[in-house]
């Protein structure tokens, strides 16, 4: 679950290479990315903010 700076929350995925409880920390800053699922469906996902 990601909370946007603007307030709303959404279920999503955090995309990192090695997801573990240690690398995927609660409250870490993330930024949006987009995952193409099909030709017509694209999902917003998130990655650690640089």
């Amino acid at each position: 679950v990601v909370e946007l700076e603007e307030g709303p929350r959404l279920m999503t995925n955090i995309e990192i290479d090695d997801p573990t409880p240690e690398t995927l920390r609660i409250d870490m800053p993330v930024e949006v990315a987009f995952r193409a699922v099909t030709e017509t469906v694209t999902l917003p996902v998130f990655r650690p903010a640089p």
Binding site: V1, R9, L10, M11, T12, N13, P21, I26, L43, V45
Partner: protein
């Protein structure tokens, strides 16, 4: 209002576990037959039907009756618990005189069961595409926040399944009755299902059912078994999708539901020595211990992990047999049975304990019992305070 109502019949299906010879409706029928026999009352006397896995109209056909009051409240695992409140209200209002709350679910064999949700639903659109779709994935999110915020650990949480298994070893009907004791370390060593839940953190998947018969309290002495009085009830819903939970460390529906039940019954947490707190996962009852006031917010980890040693050297868990706060004494959803919606089984155990019929697992000198359950990962909640006086 509800203190004028009593439970006069309560029973599970003959067996629990893997029952491929019974359909969803067959399980309802066996549960209803057993509860009515327990009360010593005929199906033809039933004029109110309360159900969630089956529609009341399916049951009127299957049971061959024409009830004048129906309730199909369908908010997940606590639906039966909430229906105690609805039955109490209906009886008090004169809308029915014999209320049958009945549950049957072919959770394991999946005979005549439906998969919930469609791709177009809010959860289908906004949660399932990310893999958040099974109970373990949805119930995990509040736990991770609790770990982060309060330092709660997997080892603390693992004391819940260990304590609950001790009760199942004393209940001949439990699916895990003969499976042997488990330690918190065994829980941590079982295979991972969905972090932070290992296999033994998760409830069972079984077939089964149960039913309750309720009547006005002034008739309650006319039946075969000692009555159990409904002293207070509560219910609430707070959201549907887990990501919409306001604060992942508090169940808003639980707090509001419990407040109503406690106020109606005139009780506080300190009055209870027997709890039936729906355990879909090891963590689930820990949320309720906090939100119903049995320990402070954030302290359920150390609270459930308290242990003592018995005279024979055995570990006594805080909520296990011999401990100060007996909880989930039938063996719970973790070790007794869980069909998908467990609320009815928690209610039946509370009645069994208050009647003094619990055999080797009987909690002595009991007058009050507290039943509380969630629906859909802390979204809905139902609370019932029961008494044998």
């Amino acid at each position: 209002m509800s203190r004028h109502v009593a439970i006069v019949g309560a029973a599970e299906t003959d067996r629990l576990g893997k029952l491929p010879h019974l359909s969803r409706l067959g399980l309802h029928a066996e549960a209803a037959r057993n509860a009515l026999a327990d009360a010593g009352i005929a199906m033809t006397e039933v004029d109110g039907i309360f159900s969630s896995v089956a529609d009341p109209n399916e049951l009127s056909e299957y049971f061959g009756i024409v009830p004048r009051y129906i309730d199909g409240t369908n908010v997940g695992g606590c639906s039966s618990i909430i229906q105690v409140r609805h039955a109490a209200a209906a009886i008090a209002a004169g809308y029915c005189s014999v209320a049958l709350i009945v549950h049957g679910e072919s959770g394991r064999s999946w005979i005549d069961m439906e998969r919930p949700g469609t791709a177009a639903s809010p959860t289908g659109q906004f949660e399932a595409p990310y893999g958040a779709a099974g109970a373990a994935t949805l119930f995990a999110l509040p736990v991770l926040r609790h770990f982060h915020q309060f330092g709660t650990t997997k080892l603390q949480m693992a004391h819940v399944p260990a304590a609950t298994r001790e009760w199942a070893l004393l209940n001949p009907k439990s699916m895990m009755h003969s499976a042997g004791a488990i330690t918190p370390e065994d829980v941590l060593a079982s295979r991972i299902v969905c972090y932070p839940f290992n296999l033994l953190d998760c409830c069972l998947v079984g077939d089964g059912g149960g039913a309750l018969v309720l009547v006005a309290a002034d008739r309650a002495r006319d039946f075969a078994k000692p009555p159990v009085f409904v002293r207070g009830t509560g219910e609430a819903v707070a959201h549907r999708q887990v990501a919409m939970m306001r604060d992942f460390t508090t169940s808003d529906s639980t707090v509001l539901s419990a407040r109503q039940a406690f106020a109606e019954a005139g009780v506080t947490a300190a009055d209870f020595r027997h709890l039936m707190f729906y355990d879909a996962f090891s963590f689930t009852p820990m949320m309720f211990l906090e939100d119903l006031g049995f320990c402070a917010k954030g302290e359920s980890g150390p609270f459930v992990a308290q242990t003592a040693r018995g005279a024979d050297g055995r570990v006594i868990y805080h909520t296990g047999p011999g401990g100060p706060l007996p909880m989930n004494t039938n063996g719970g959803g973790l070790s007794h049975v869980h069909t998908g919606r467990y609320g009815m089984f928690a209610l039946i155990e509370a009645v069994t304990q208050l009647r003094g019929e619990a055999g080797a697992r009987q909690v002595r000198d009991l007058e009050l019992s507290l039943v509380h359950g969630p629906g859909r990962h802390f979204a809905a909640a139902g609370t019932v305070v029961l008494s044998n006086r």
